[in-house]
């Protein structure tokens, strides 16, 4: 350890000039990088594409060790955690029943109003093959890239909520910028009240909420979802819940846990969305109530064409869907579907 024991080379080179020149080059690189030069990003994705087989192989044992080390602290409160989870599970079952009933009701209302239901979003499933917790960047690497249709800007979600966005896409790998990262800023809505805000990461576990209106007062526990403003992200992605107050500032406790997510979905907002399944005649309110279906529309009298053209024609509900063969609705037995397509 004693540096004094080393016979050192004296400063014969005069390194001041090279240092100054290279420092100028480094500053130039920083400025070029700020101007979104893609050369460095391409090099980075090439390196991860090239290293992805190694990362896949190395990930399994190291991730197991990683999780074991991370859960050492949880051993001591496993009993309390079990009780808490049982209680939460009971409450979630009640919410599930309510959600199934409400989903059925919404479906009927949509049918009556001829509303277009929210389509499911296309998504690509990917495995997390690396996580990086640098002082100035929190990111993860996925094993899906351009070859699977992944593009920068797409949202990354797990079963619980949004994790982050793709910021670099290689051919077979992609880098995700986490919501907690210093560089992450996304528009969000806070429910109830539909308050709009920008959620900004600061490398802490709970991102900050920057409200667009200073007069809004939020309640702890309010739900935060993506607003979809700007067209970058799909609206309605679950993100987290509000904590804090107007004095100390609001923060968001995220639903998703990037440290525990192994499989994630990359939501493609720009792709053609999946069409929802057509509603069958048996799901119509009248049919479900045991009533005969409404009579088909009578042909309009030929003698009054002008009146017919001017008046809006309201078709009966039975004429709406191109119904496939009727089958009993099994939706009531399924868990509530989300808009994110992550189920």
């Amino acid at each position: 350890m004693a540096n004094g024991t080393w016979k050192i080379a004296r400063n014969r080179s005069g390194a001041q000039l090279p240092i100054a020149l290279l420092a100028a080059l480094a500053i130039a690189l920083i400025l070029i990088g700020k101007a979104q030069n893609p050369i460095f990003d391409r090099a980075r994705t090439t390196v991860t594409d090239w290293a992805s087989p190694v990362l896949r192989i190395a990930r399994a044992p190291l991730d197991g060790l990683d999780r074991w080390m991370g859960s050492i602290g949880e051993i001591f409160n496993v009993y309390q955690e079990n009780l808490r989870l049982k209680d939460e599970n009971a409450r979630l079952r009640q919410w599930r029943n309510a959600a199934v009933a409400l989903e059925d009701r919404v479906k009927r209302y949509q049918l009556l109003l001829r509303a277009v239901p929210d389509p499911k979003l296309s998504s690509v499933m990917a495995r997390v093959i690396g996580r990086s917790n640098q002082p100035f960047l929190q990111t993860m690497i996925l094993d899906a890239g351009k070859a699977q249709g992944v593009k920068p800007g797409q949202a990354v979600i797990d079963q619980r909520g949004m994790i982050g966005r793709i910021f670099l896409a290689g051919n077979y790998t992609s880098w995700v910028i986490l919501l907690t990262d210093l560089n992450s800023r996304i528009p969000v809505n806070i429910e109830p009240g539909n308050a709009q805000a920008i959620m900004a990461g600061d490398n802490s576990g709970a991102p900050l909420l920057d409200l667009l209106s200073q007069r809004v007062v939020l309640k702890p526990g309010a739900q935060v979802v993506s607003s979809g403003d700007g067209g970058l992200l799909p609206p309605g992605l679950a993100i987290g819940t509000v904590v804090g107050n107007s004095v100390s500032g609001y923060r968001v406790v995220l639903l998703a846990d990037p440290g525990a997510s192994d499989d994630v979905n990359i939501v493609d907002f720009k792709l053609k969305t999946e069409q929802p399944p057509a509603t069958t005649a048996n799901e119509l309110p009248a049919t479900a109530a045991g009533l005969p279906p409404a009579a088909p529309p009578q042909p309009a009298p030929v003698a009054a064409p002008l009146v017919h053209a001017a008046a809006p024609v309201v078709k009966p509900p039975t004429a709406l869907p191109a119904s496939p063969p009727a089958k009993p609705s099994a939706n009531a037995q399924e868990p509530p579907a989300s808009d994110t397509g992550n189920e």
């Binding site: 240092i19 460095f40 990930r59 990086s132």
Partner: protein, 175 residues
């Protein structure tokens, strides 16, 4: 003739060892799997061989190699290009100016000297990132990284010293 070839091979090996250790430090520190559950940022392993050989063999760890290792660190850590390159050059400048003093330190003093050089690099990186994003990043992760780096320097310098004695050796004209 064979003896001359062996000498040449030995000199070549000794010249690539510092940079190879630097590259290894970058790769290991930026391997995207954490052994501590992501609680602590990875240590700045690349800075250990950089500091050590910039102090004892600046002819092998030149400012150019400090720049290259910084670029590699930027590339693999996912940060903006040039941040760690500038940080390592700032630290190199300090080492270059204070070489005699730093090389004369021993024991805790040697670790303190390394800590000062690491702090210079980390502060430069912090300031550069703050200007780059026009936003002050939290200092805690950087301080944790600095602490991890200084802590690991203690076993690290023993390994580097061993490698230096066995493979690199003192400056040729010092014989």
């Amino acid at each position: 003739m064979e003896h001359a070839v062996n000498i040449m091979a030995g000199r070549f090996l000794s010249s690539i060892v510092p940079v190879t250790f630097g590259i290894l430090g970058v790769v290991i520190a930026n391997f995207p799997v954490s052994l501590l559950g992501g609680l602590v940022p990875p240590a700045l392993l690349v800075f250990m061989p950089l500091y050590f050989w910039a102090m004892v063999r600046p002819d092998l760890m030149t400012p150019f190699w400090a720049f290259v290792l910084g670029i590699l660190q930027d590339l693999l850590s996912g940060g903006p290009a040039g941040v760690w390159a500038a940080a390592f050059l700032a630290a190199y400048f300090l080492i270059d100016r204070q070489r005699d003093m730093l090389a004369g330190l021993s024991g805790v003093g040697a670790v303190a000297g390394f800590a000062v050089a690491s702090l210079t690099a980390c502060l430069t990186a912090y300031a550069t990132v703050a200007i780059y994003y026009w936003h002050l990043p939290p200092a805690a992760p950087m301080l944790l990284q600095l602490a991890m780096t200084v802590l690991l320097y203690i076993p690290g310098v023993i390994l580097l010293g061993f490698v230096h004695r066995r493979l690199v050796g003192p400056y040729r004209s010092d014989f």
